[in-house]
């Protein structure tokens, strides 16, 4: 059952986070309309702007800090890459297990080559299961393969 929206919800004041985003030009229309009619939020926005200016004046990002930021971004990127590689290895292992169970050990070598990407391996194995066990069983096997994977690839990589 869908609950009716409370009329008060439309009149709620925006959070500090949204006001901060408004300061940075990342939030528009609705907050601007709310600010036009809400003195309390205008005062809060003014306070946020003052604090932001004071913080920028106290801790300016100099040229010496840019390498640190670059390092931080690099570390984040490396961490994401490791997560993805781990998931890829996990997926490859699971696909190989299923192929071995349903087709046989020799089939693993036929289907999986060193240069084959995980997405391609998954697609090929699904085609084999679809052909030899029928679409319903193949779908179940693929669901089972992907169920426990905790990763997300960009959608563009799935269409290979």
């Amino acid at each position: 059952m869908r609950l009716a929206r409370s009329p008060k919800r439309n009149d709620m004041h925006p959070s500090d986070l949204r006001l901060l985003a408004y300061c940075d030009g990342e939030a528009g229309g609705r907050i601007a309309r709310h600010l036009a009619g809400c003195r309390r939020c205008r005062e809060r926005l003014e306070q946020i702007r003052t604090e932001k200016a004071a913080l920028a004046a106290a801790h300016p990002i100099g040229p010496d800090q840019e390498p640190q930021l670059t390092g931080l971004f690099g570390a984040i990127s490396a961490w994401q890459s490791n997560e993805s590689n781990g998931a890829r290895l996990h997926l490859r292992r699971r696909v190989r297990e299923r192929v071995e169970t349903f087709c046989g050990a020799a089939a693993v070598g036929t289907v999986d080559h060193p240069g084959v990407r995980e997405e391609k391996l998954l697609g090929t194995s699904n085609e084999i299961f679809d052909a030899f066990l029928g679409p319903a069983a193949a779908e179940v096997i693929q669901d089972d393969l992907l169920r426990e994977l905790r990763w997300n690839l960009p959608l563009g990589e799935t269409n290979e």
Partner: protein, 312 residues
């Protein structure tokens, strides 16, 4: 969870086949033992080309039912849909041949065609001949047709390999056997020996069996690149059934040379394992499908929430 329903008991189909086969083989061996111990007084003789025993027909019926169950999971457009269709037709031909040959094409008491004052022997003979054709050459042609899409699908997934010279020896031997049989029958016919229609029907199936042997070698080679997984086992059963069919033909030809009046149980003892091997093809496929469904039943949570972007 609904995916698993329907597979609850059918997962044991291979066991049913093995139990039925084992039980019948024991009974027939016991009968042979009793017949031999009784000094062969009891008349259970019959020619080896007689129609299949009831147990073989029941096994063929079981195979037909299993094929009908399997074919439902291969919708139109599936690569192996045509293979399963042809295999089902072959199983239906075997069952129909057994039923018509035994119930209407024989002289047993329960045949309604023998109840009239003048038994319709002509019709009985025609039914018997039709049953022989359906269960012999026709069924083998259909099986050969079933092998084509199967081999094509295996080639598509790079499982096919070229057999070496030694592996061609087995079909070569069977080709020689076929040629020998044709020469033997031909020389008998030229020597004014009467050639029975049943012999002609049996001979007509041998060239097709040769083709099946060649296809069986290709299948064996392909399966060697696949392994012995749950899917492969079903097709290994088909390969064994083809080889057993050829071996059975050779044995049934050899026996009368050493045993002038072999008992009918010998024919059943040969045909029953062959029919069981054909029944194992859908039975093992159903077992593999059940294994796949079982994994889904163990994780009943909502699937879409667990599927990452890759799957979507």
């Amino acid at each position: 969870m609904t995916r698993e329903s329907g597979f609850d008991r059918i997962q044991f189909a291979p066991r049913w086949v093995f139990l039925f086969l084992g039980g019948n083989l024991l009974v027939h061996l016991f009968l042979l033992y009793v017949w031999n111990a009784a000094g062969q007084v009891v008349s259970i003789q019959g020619t080896t080309d007689s129609t299949n025993a009831f147990s073989v027909t029941i096994m063929a019926g079981l195979a037909l039912w299993l094929h009908l169950v399997v074919i439902r999971s291969f919708p139109s457009g599936s690569p192996l849909r045509s293979t399963w269709c042809w295999l089902t037709v072959a199983a239906a031909a075997a069952t129909a041949a057994g039923l018509f040959g035994q119930f209407l094409g024989s002289d047993w008491l329960l045949n309604p065609l023998t109840w009239t004052a003048r038994p319709r022997t002509g019709l009985i003979g025609q039914i018997r001949l039709t049953a022989l054709i359906a269960g012999g050459p026709l069924r083998l042609i259909v099986l050969a047709a079933a092998m084509r899409p199967l081999l094509r699908t295996l080639r598509r997934f790079h499982f096919q390999a070229r057999p070496n010279a030694i592996e061609w020896i087995v079909p070569g031997i069977f080709c020689l056997f076929t040629a020998g049989r044709l020469v033997e029958t031909g020389s008998g016919w030229l020597g004014s020996h009467p050639v029975r229609t049943e012999d002609c029907v049996a001979l007509a199936g041998l060239p097709v069996l040769c083709l099946l042997f060649f296809q069986g070698v290709l299948l064996r080679k392909s399966l060697s690149r696949m392994g012995t997984g749950l899917i492969a086992r079903g097709w290994i059963a088909l390969e064994c059934a083809i080889l057993a069919s050829g071996a059975g033909e050779i044995i049934l030809w050899v026996i009368p040379h050493f045993w002038p009046a072999p008992p009918a149980a010998i024919s059943t003892l040969i045909h029953l394992p062959i029919t069981a091997a054909f029944a194992l093809v859908p039975a093992l496929t159903l077992a593999a499908q059940h294994r796949a469904m079982q994994s889904a039943a163990q994780h009943p949570e909502n699937l879409p929430t667990g599927i990452p972007a890759l799957a979507r």
